[in-house]
């Protein structure tokens, strides 16, 4: 029996349909604030969502094109005749991508552009909680645990620009693009790890079929296929230009026209875009759009107030003045996907915990001595949410719903634990990347909270690159870190706590085994259970305190309709928006 009808992701999506009501209203964030926010390894979102984009204030509905799952929309689409065509949309983001090549870059600023010029086999919903079809006609057939067969939509045309000149997309194109992404060349193909070691081979038996032959059951596979970093890029363009650093050629709704470095991107509607809206009308609705590069949060706020931008995603620092000046704008607060960790000493088989951290009671005391809510209250005016484990609450299918009891803030219990451990001297330097003043405030709160239970932190701010060097040498006692969460639980578990992790090191073979197990578990409920168990195990082994994530604040001019801006610019599609005026 094929597993087509009951495959993992279909069941996952079915479950979520009934469980997503809260987040659907609230939306999720575009963080992406820091120009230097490395995916997965700690940038800083403190100046806010300066990442660009926006969200409107009405829950989602509607959909478009041949997708199997309706795409969440920001505002209702009551009838086709309410949609207005034409116009220019003006938005901004807080930094520049280093490259337009999705296989090279890791900054979400890249995907803010390329998700509008290219398509993937699958895609995430804008709120990153669902996997939907894009180039694929449906979710893949899975005749067994090691085979995924995608059917590709027919009549998909590459954009009518050189060097591809509007020819039809084939399954071979898809195969070639994913194989390019899998190139094992350090420092360039940053997303090769999505498939390397898991995908044995890719076949394109005919023009509409792509078959992935896996070397092992691999639960994150579809997540990685849906990732914006797995967009299908054009072979002729790569052959013509060498790479796609300054070129974006795809099958998407917008044609890349110009990148003025550090200034803006200009894109124009693709007149031959293959997807249609729910009424059979052509997409996209707008004629063109600009993504301005605006790195300073105050400037970003002023530009939106001055109506030079149609949308803005801002941090807490700009919130009150923009709300006051633009009371006409749609507004929605969204949690960022950058989160805060207070880390203790990383451990490996060769470098186990040193005293006093080898006593789990000491680590637990440190964890119990920290109150995440106080950071939000003191530094961010309460603007954020407390996190409970390695996966952010925005990923409601995977996140812990509450902090395990032994890791909750309880200074009295922390002091008792230290007493039980013989009142050892717990002290040491705490490093962090001193990129914004708010991070120093956060560090001072770490210091004050832990001083209350007798733990002494010596604050040691570091220049960003130096911080990364020390962090990735895994040689520190305490660290305040700001990584980026990702849609698939494996990316948040393996890369921090797994046996081959690099973002952090935590030596616990039971935890490693459980992380391995969830990565190969294709049954959703079973995987969900494993993920929950391993998160609790991680939290209860006290390698770090999981703290909080801040909010970003999306503003949209009232004329902008039907837009839901995705978290961290991760999925920056503006395929379906229109402008009322």
């Amino acid at each position: 029996m094929t597993r087509t009808e009951t495959n993992y992701w279909q069941r996952l999506n079915e479950r979520k349909t009934s469980r997503r009501t809260v987040l659907r209203g609230a939306g999720v964030a575009g963080a992406g604030g820091a120009g230097w926010a490395l995916v997965g390894c700690g940038g800083d979102d403190d100046d806010g969502g300066n990442g660009g984009g926006s969200a409107t204030n009405t829950p989602a509905n509607g959909g478009s094109g041949p997708t199997a799952t309706p795409e969440p929309q920001a505002t209702p689409t009551p009838a086709g005749d309410t949609i207005k065509r034409g116009g220019h949309f003006n938005m901004a983001m807080g930094g520049s991508p280093r490259s337009l090549d999705v296989h090279f870059d890791t900054f979400p600023y890249n995907t803010a552009v390329v998700t509008n010029t290219n398509n993937g086999i699958l895609q995430f919903s804008p709120d990153l909680t669902e996997i939907q079809t894009d180039l694929a006609t449906g979710m893949p057939e899975q005749p067994d645990d090691l085979t995924f067969t995608f059917k590709i939509n027919q009549g998909v045309m590459w954009q009518d620009i050189a060097p591809v000149n509007g020819r039809e997309l084939t399954a071979e194109d898809v195969k070639w693009s994913i194989e390019r992404q899998m190139t094992d060349e350090a420092g360039k193909f940053q997303h090769a790890y999505f498939f390397l070691g898991a995908v044995d081979s890719i076949d394109a038996p005919d023009n509409e079929t792509v078959v992935f032959n896996m070397s092992k059951p691999f639960a994150p596979f579809l997540s990685y296929v849906a990732s914006p970093w797995s967009m299908i890029v054009n072979r002729e363009a790569v052959e013509e230009y060498g790479d796609l650093t300054e070129h974006a050629v795809g099958t998407g709704p917008f044609i890349f026209k110009e990148w003025q470095k550090d200034v803006k991107f200009e894109l124009e509607a693709n007149p031959n875009y293959w997807k249609k809206d729910q009424f059979g009308g052509a997409l996209p609705y707008i004629d063109s759009f600009t993504i301005n590069i605006v790195t300073d949060p105050d400037t970003y706020g002023t530009l939106f107030i001055d109506k030079q931008l149609d949308a803005a995603l801002l941090g807490e620092s700009q919130l009150s003045r923009v709300q006051e000046a633009r009371s006409d704008a749609f507004y929605r607060s969204q949690p960022s996907q950058f989160w805060r960790q207070f880390r203790m000493q990383p451990t490996t088989p060769d470098a186990p915990y040193v005293a006093p951290f080898d006593d789990i009671r000491v680590r637990q005391a440190v964890v119990q001595g920290i109150d995440p809510q106080e950071y939000l209250d003191l530094v961010y005016n309460g603007d954020g949410i407390v996190t409970h484990g390695p996966i952010l609450p925005v990923y409601e299918n995977w996140a812990l719903k509450e902090t395990p009891e032994g890791a909750r803030y309880d200074p009295a219990a922390a002091i008792a634990l230290l007493e039980a451990a013989g009142n050892p001297t717990v002290s040491g330097p705490m490093i962090w990347a001193a990129t914004t003043p708010t991070l120093e405030q956060v560090a001072q709160i770490h210091q004050a909270q832990l001083a209350a239970i007798g733990v002494t932190l010596e604050l040691q701010p570091m220049e960003l690159a130096a911080y990364y060097n020390q962090t990735y040498a895994y040689e520190y006692t305490f660290s305040s870190h700001t990584p980026l969460n990702n849609p698939d639980p494996d990316e948040n578990l393996s890369s921090y706590f797994g046996r081959n992790s690099t973002f952090f090191k935590h030596h616990n073979e039971d935890i490693w085994a459980k992380i391995d197990a969830q990565a190969t578990e294709l049954d959703f409920e079973r995987r969900q259970q494993l993920v929950e168990e391993v998160q609790i195990d991680i939290v209860n082994d006290f390698p770090m305190k999981f703290l909080y994530t801040t909010n970003n604040h999306g503003f949209t001019d009232p004329k902008v309709q039907n837009w839901f801006y995705s978290a961290d610019l991760y999925n920056g599609r503006i395929h379906n928006i229109w402008l009322d005026a």
Partner: protein, 316 residues
């Protein structure tokens, strides 16, 4: 004069080499390593990846050899390729350097337009109310940080008057008037910052010159005030002032970095900061080299101007 220029240009070579050497070595000595940072973006990077990447970037070779190769390529106009963008540094600088130079030039020009008249006027009206106002202005311009003024300009006019300065860059080709209007505000802020020092020096030098015998002689001959002040006074006071203006080019370049960020200007400053954070060795080296050449060139120009202003100066 030609011999002097050639001699000075040759003397600049060791300076430039020293700048190149210092930049090259310091970059590799400071904590924070390009390879580590690049690998930090890959959650499953291995030791072999590190070795491979070092080889790809040529960082596995001895540092002196790397330096010699870089100098050799730079002499051929090749400043290397950014490992992050895979684009030649010269290409990146080609678009950005004119923006920063234009911005810096306008800033200095506005600074001089503000500083020289006020400095001269203050000297002519020493210890009067207008002198006090001028001197207070100079102290204010020196003491208020440019970035603070910039933030005031970005936030408050919009709040109070519903007006904001242009904050989105307009290339010359897209509209010369808008282009100049866009540059005017950041250049004004930069100019204000530079004006304080020049104004005070101009005033001091003018006071010194106005007490000289030849000025008294000029007055006694019944010359008009404009001739005495401009031809005999200011011209003689300008030598040290021009020296300071030359030195302010490097100050202006430093000042552009923050203003480029606030005003979204695609200049060298933003590129440089980003390159430093990413330990983009070729880009940092390239920017420092080019800016060093600009500063050396401007100072050569200043030395030549001495002779134009004061013909008694000979370049032998």
């Amino acid at each position: 004069m030609t011999q002097y220029i050639i001699r000075r240009s040759l003397m600049a070579v060791p300076t430039i080499l020293l700048v190149m050497f210092a930049t090259f070595m310091l970059l590799r000595m400071v904590p924070g390593n390009l390879v580590e940072i690049m690998l930090a973006e890959n959650p499953y990077a291995t030791e072999q990846d590190r070795i491979d990447l070092e080889q790809q970037l040529g960082l596995d070779e001895p540092v002196p050899l790397q330096f010699v190769k870089w100098v050799g390529n730079a002499l051929k106009g090749d400043l290397g390729e950014s490992p992050w963008t895979t684009r030649p540094v010269t290409e990146e600088l080609k678009g950005r350097l004119p923006v920063t130079l234009e911005f810096g030039f306008l800033g200095i020009l506005i600074g001089l337009v503000i500083a020289l008249p006020i400095g001269v006027w203050s000297a002519m009206r020493q210890d009067t109310m207008s002198d006090y106002v001028g001197r207070s202005f100079a102290i204010l311009a020196l003491s208020v940080p440019t970035f603070f003024l910039a933030l005031l300009l970005v936030i408050f006019p919009q709040m109070w008057f519903g007006w904001a300065p242009p904050l989105l860059y307009v290339p010359w080709a897209d509209g010369p008037v808008q282009h100049v209007w866009y540059f005017f505000w950041p250049a004004l802020l930069l100019g204000l910052n530079l004006a304080g020092g020049v104004m005070r020096l101009t005033r001091t030098m003018m006071l010194e010159v106005l007490r000289q015998d030849y000025i008294r002689t000029a007055w006694s001959k019944g010359m008009r005030e404009r001739v005495v002040i401009m031809r005999h006074g200011l011209r003689n006071a300008m030598i040290p002032v021009i020296t300071v203006i030359g030195l302010q080019v490097s100050v202006a370049i430093g000042g552009t970095i923050i203003l480029e960020t606030i005003f979204n200007m695609p200049g060298v400053g933003r590129y440089f900061v980003s390159a430093v954070f990413q330990r983009d060795y070729p880009s940092v080296q390239g920017v420092v080299l080019v800016l060093a050449i600009v500063v050396i060139f401007v100072n050569l120009l200043v030395d030549i101007l001495y002779g134009v202003i004061d013909p008694r100066i000979r370049y032998s």
